[in-house]
Symmetry: C2
Subunit: 301 residues, 2 copies
């Protein structure tokens, strides 16, 4: 493993531990509580994944000398939102997926009602974690974190993007490149971008540094989505850990449809360079974020 991969995997492990300690306990003195099924489904839905968003928050906070303990709490809150969105997006009335991260989706492992509630509760947990003084002693910072995460995951961000995506499937006319870009910036980009923002909030970053990080995250997020579409078009289910060629089958506009295979690869490479260039004000301490941009690009090769 490269240094970068070691670091990515160590953060994924730490996020798993942080979530495990923050999510409600299923048993007290060996007795299961009545709502145990909900708590099991929350833990199940929040397990696995590369924890990319948390990693971005943790690495950004590290540049500003923030304690890892505090950064991991922020990362865990972001992963709660990400996990809730996956649990709900996989539901039969949404994308109707059976497989996620190589395992049965939450509604297949449990049932639909439990999956709806587990997603709901994971969203709530994100705000419980951020509002807690243990995340940061300064309540200004905590409020800024809550506001930023809510904005990114709300109707003008992640959830809005998911709505547009579902609507687009129903219409015969495919989305334009501009419309697809806006959709993806909301659906997946907003949460990726806010991960850097939240690291910067935690680190009292200057407005120049914060802007640099947000531009980086914006280009990275779009690149990430293009690479995802490339994987969906060219990867195998085993490799990806979820159903592939699904988006194209569902008539969803993907960047591969819009740009072609080669065009999409070129665009991803261009965005990677552009993302890294935005980080210049931060100097060498942003090297891990640069390595992350390269990593996202190379995973589709």
């Amino acid at each position: 493993m490269t240094d970068f991969e070691t670091r990515l995997s160590a953060t994924a492990d730490d996020i798993a531990d942080t979530l495990s300690s923050l999510l409600p306990r299923i048993e007290t003195d060996g007795v299961r509580c009545a709502e145990a099924r909900l708590l099991e489904a929350m833990r199940y839905g929040a397990e696995g994944g590369k924890r990319l968003r948390a990693f971005m928050a943790v690495e950004t906070a590290r540049m500003f000398g923030i304690e890892r303990y505090n950064a991991l709490r922020v990362g865990a809150a972001i992963e709660c939102i990400h996990a809730y969105s996956l649990v709900h997006d996989d539901l039969p009335c949404m994308d109707d997926d059976d497989l996620r991260r190589g395992r049965p989706t939450t509604h297949r492992k449990f049932d639909e009602a439990t999956a709806v509630l587990a997603g709901d509760a994971l969203q709530t947990m994100a705000f419980t974690i951020l509002a807690d003084p243990a995340t940061h002693e300064n309540p200004f910072i905590r409020c800024e974190l809550v506001a930023a995460l809510a904005r990114a995951s709300g109707p003008r961000g992640m959830v809005g993007g998911q709505m547009i995506d579902i609507e687009a499937e129903k219409t015969s006319e495919p989305l334009s490149l501009a419309e697809t870009s806006r959709l993806q910036r909301m659906k997946t980009g907003a949460l990726i971008e806010v991960s850097c923002t939240m690291g910067a909030i935690l680190g009292h970053a200057s407005s120049t540094n914060r802007r640099a990080l947000e531009y980086y995250a914006r280009d990275f997020g779009l690149c990430f989505q293009i690479c995802d579409d490339l994987l969906d078009a060219t990867g195998t289910e085993e490799m990806v850990g979820k159903a592939v060629a699904k988006d194209a089958d569902a008539g969803k506009a993907t960047f591969v449809d819009l740009l072609g295979l080669d065009g999409a690869k070129e665009r991803a490479a261009m965005l990677t360079e552009q993302a890294k260039a935005h980080l210049s004000p931060l100097g060498e301490r942003a090297d891990t974020l640069r390595a992350l941009a390269d990593h996202a690009l190379y995973r589709q090769k």
Copy 2:
């Protein structure tokens, strides 16, 4: 209308206006945004209702001289959580209801996917509203509000209660009175209780006053649920605005089953007196909350 009813209805109108101004705009300069369907469903899901929880927060805050504008924002956030829980609870995989507040439920008016997303986004909006400096200038207060609402609506509160309720339907053994009381305290009681708590947080209430208000709200919440079960057992669909005799049909444990009709009525009356008694440290300024307790009791007569 009595003074109390005038006040209740004025607050319901103000909450509708506050929500209307806080929820995202569907059109900008006459152009519908791509996520318009989501925003319409959010507004639809948040419409109607007596706004009892908001009223409790607003009336509590008023006792401590808080500006109505700030109290209404807190009330609107609570109603976002309440509305999201109704939208999700009505889904086919949950209670499968077609009627709510006398109109088609959100998934019947729109579709299931839109209802899931609208519920998700309404939850997010609650925290967006509370974290905003417009709610209170002091970030300590805002964080306390976020933490209190998240705790009450999360896995150990509202969502946990809904899980226990769904689980209970599947088992042949009915819940005991103690189990049903815990379920209802989580499912409906937690949000009612936190409405007074949030008014008290906004008003920097002393710990004595805050405790008095929470005890009041706890007894009121239980009384409210018993009255709801009485309405379900004895009311008509037209009167109640949603399907009746559903809970009994679904094999859910109701307080009417557990206590009998007369026993449930007696318990409700006893809880109303007890709730009002808790308010004695607050003197006359708590008269509206006393009237509210009487109102909840009498609506089932």
